[in-house]
Symmetry: C2
Subunit: 199 residues, 2 copies
């Protein structure tokens, strides 16, 4: 055991170094920064952390994280309730909201099918999605915005099989070259898909 | 303004992105990690942050940060009170403690002389250091462990001028090649110093 500083300091170092991507050195640097920061700044961060666990819940309709249930996307009268965009994680939803190109509502699966990690369809919020598409539904299109990788594709395929019999339109996000990218640096699969999907 | 998620989330994202080296993307990733982390883990971090500001003070002898005054290095009867190691920052002290090669006590300056940044000797804890070396002192050696750069050298020089008349031994940390380093990759100044200081 090396000396890590007084207890109040080592507690913060420990707490921070448990965060992903933050090693003990970075945790120490951040802690010593906080020691010099204003009492207000540190107090505000501590309060925000407390609040995070106390006041964040899942929307019971779309399973997005929210401070109200149903969330303010599901209850927004200007959002098109007939189009559901299905994403793996809340952060994917945030990324799509940033584009300001989607005016429908969401469904957050909280993961993707991954037999290697022991995650099957029942671990995800797929069943409630199907319920939203049941008799009397207003939904006309389901956009599958799972990640463009093995797990995302498997999940999309699984959902497609369940949704198809309901006669609801299913689409997937386009695949191709990222804007601003350089053809020279595109991986062969992206480039191949871009060729196949040329328009 | 893009949508950053519900208020409790954006508060944590904001708080984290004010930390050095943590951009908005990383702050967001950490926040969503914390959302999934256990209530205990997040609560512990929040408490530790509060505690950091409430229970950490400066030792009135050596000015190291501590939860008690005088600190547990200054009050440790097994530490050699006749040798003071002068460092710029509390983190430097932690680094030296890790080596387990120093059994004396410390003096933390909280910075280095840097006219460019408007930091003169009076902004540092140099005066209290000189007081520790006054009449009746037990101190026999002052080790200047300021950083091996312009500011550190200027600070060491300044302190040397003040301490020399008191007849107390002054030393500086050795300079040379870092252990485990490769001669090929050593910068010319380090290599030059290593030559000059060869033994």
């Amino acid at each position: 055991m090396t000396w890590e500083g007084p207890k109040p300091i080592s507690r913060v170092v420990e707490g921070l170094s448990r965060l992903p991507g933050i090693g003990p050195k970075t945790a120490q640097r951040l802690t010593y920064y906080l020691l010099r920061a204003s009492r207000e700044q540190v107090g505000e961060l501590a309060d925000a952390l407390r609040d995070l666990k106390d006041n964040v819940k899942l929307c019971s309709t779309c399973f997005n994280i929210s401070d109200q249930d149903p969330c303010h996307i599901c209850t927004n009268p200007r959002r098109d309730q007939s189009t559901i965009c299905v994403v793996e994680e809340p952060l994917d939803l945030v990324a799509i909201e940033r584009t300001a190109r989607f005016g429908g509502v969401y469904h957050v699966l909280h993961g993707a099918i991954s037999p290697m990690d022991g995650i099957g369809p029942d671990e995800l919020r797929i069943r409630p999605l199907i319920s939203r598409l049941g008799p009397g539904t207003k939904v006309q299109e389901v956009i599958l915005a799972t990640n463009p990788n093995l797990e995302g594709d498997a999940t999309a395929m699984y959902i497609t099989k369940l949704v198809e019999p309901l006669g609801i339109k299913i689409t997937r996000l386009a695949r191709g070259l990222p804007i601003g990218g350089d053809l020279e640096y595109a991986d062969e699969i992206t480039l191949g898909n871009a060729f196949a999907g040329r328009s």
